[in-house]
Amino acid sequence: MVNVGRWSLKKSPWLFHFNSGSCNNCDIELIDALTPRYDVERFGILLQGSPRHADILVVTGMVNHQTAPRLKRIYEQMPNPKAVIALGTCATSGGIFADSYHIAGPVDRIIPVDVYVPGCPPRPEAIIEGVIKALAKL
């Protein structure tokens, strides 16, 4: 029998976006993917305002000490099954901020990460591909 819950997830993943200390670059490229040129909403990919309703957590930024506990709490609030995308160079490795005194990240030091999308910022096409890869993990 087909697991209806799992099947429906693959059709329409809801994203929750968390900015953990990013420069806005990745954030605007993520929003860009929703707007007319890329329009991922036609595939059912929707940005969601609450982590409790989301399937995929998209984290941007280098994760500083002030946002790290909040990132952890948001991850815990999300229902299973869930996937995490680390978006951008800062989220995947710390990037240019790697030797800052205020870095607690990168993301995989705080929560488990399924998909890494590098780039500063990654192009919307790369973000969409990241979401597809995260879907395969769900």
Partner: protein, 372 residues
């Protein structure tokens, strides 16, 4: 925010959620690496920060960038203003629940991103500036047609959208007379950029202390005296049209010559750079100690100057208006988007999240629509 019922009675501001230690990092890098770092202060203003920093270092070294470099800096800075203002207009309309106009504004932002890719190689973070000039030339004969075509398309689109903004009853109901910052308050809180120009104060670094090529190409600053959210919106929308004209003029007047000036050995000296970022006056201070690593680097971004002015703008408004009023100073949302609403009598937090606030704001729009 402290509230009595629906009314906001006091506001306390807490920032620091996006602190990354940029000044610390910058004092551990060479002056030629820092443009890449300050570019990542904000992805939306990723030209104005390195430009400002380079001007500070150039002042400290006593170097003048070549003419062609100044024009290229101007063109990229104005394209950045166009994309930033369109982005802001979209987000602001999203906050009041007007998603179709949000999509329209972002539809016209996308061609600008494609222009950036054509001219600089990246959609955001253009890496154009370096100390003493620019790193990348603009091939005017090759790209002129494409740039002009795109700018015309964007200009026509934005003028049409401005008409829609002015006539729409919902936009009027949510923006006119909301979050008023009077001229006196604007002066007292020392606001900068479109926030000041929306309150009738004609300040603009491009005009007051021209840098890059602004003295040659000329800037016509847009001022509205109402001080409400609508005035700040119109300032930005009209600045988009003005920026398009500046880019066109600068492209046509672009002189030839080298892209970078010869740099001397770093002296013991200091310099201040000022630019008009899309959000207002941006200041970088650099002190050099004779080595390639600066001794001190201080950044004052425009949002920092504008945030305190939220207090007079928010007082007396309802909670549902808070998102659009906060949005109206165009804060780098990443630093300011977490706030708590507190009951003024009991002092207990009401547990209203930002998402809930936006939801309340959008519900108010629907109420306004129904009663209209």
């Amino acid at each position: 925010m402290f509230v009595e019922g629906e009314r906001i009675v006091d506001v306390k501001i807490r920032i620091g959620y996006n602190h990354r230690g940029i000044e610390y990092l910058s004092q551990r890098r060479t002056i030629h690496q820092i443009p890449m770092l300050v570019e990542r202060i904000c992805g939306i203003c990723s030209h104005t920060h390195p430009l400002c920093y380079c001007q500070a270092v150039e002042e400290a070294m006593g170097v003048e960038p070549p003419d062609r470099a100044r024009y290229i800096r101007t063109i990229i800075a104005e394209l950045e203003r166009i994309h930033s203002h369109l982005l802001w207009a979209g987000v602001a309309l999203h906050l009041i629940g007007y998603d179709s106009l949000f999509m329209y504004f972002w539809r016209y932002r996308e061609p600008i991103c494609m222009l950036f890719e054509l001219l600089t190689g990246n959609r955001q973070s253009y890496a154009v500036n370096c100390v003493g000039g620019v790193r990348r030339d603009i091939d005017v004969p090759r790209h002129r047609d494409r740039v002009m075509r795109t700018l015309k398309e964007v200009g026509d689109g934005v003028r049409r959208l401005e008409g829609m903004l002015l006539e729409d009853p919902l936009v009027k109901a949510r923006l006119v007379g909301v979050g008023v910052l009077t001229r006196d308050d604007a002066r007292r809180y020392c606001v900068v950029g479109p926030t000041a120009r929306g309150s009738g104060i004609p300040i603009d670094v491009r005009v007051c202390e021209p840098y890059a090529a602004y003295a040659e190409v000329g800037v016509d600053i847009k001022v509205f005296s109402e001080g409400d959210v609508m005035a700040k919106t119109l300032v930005r929308v009209q600045e988009v049209v003005e920026s398009i004209e500046i880019v066109e003029r600068a492209l046509d007047a672009m002189p030839g010559g080298p892209l970078r000036a010869e740099l001397p050995e770093p002296p013991v000296s200091e310099g201040i750079g000022k630019t008009e970022a899309p959000r207002g006056e941006n200041i970088h201070y650099v002190r050099l100690n004779g080595t390639v690593v600066p001794e001190r680097h201080k950044v004052r971004a425009p949002t920092y100057a504008n945030i305190p002015s939220l207090v007079p703008q928010l007082l007396g408004e309802t909670i549902a208006d808070a998102p659009i009023v906060i949005g109206s100073i165009d804060p780098c949302l990443s630093c300011t988007d977490r706030l708590s609403v507190v009951d003024a009598e009991t002092g207990k937090p009401l547990g209203i999240t930002y998402e809930k606030l936006v939801h309340m704001s959008r519900k108010k729009s629907r109420r306004v629509l129904r009663s209209a």
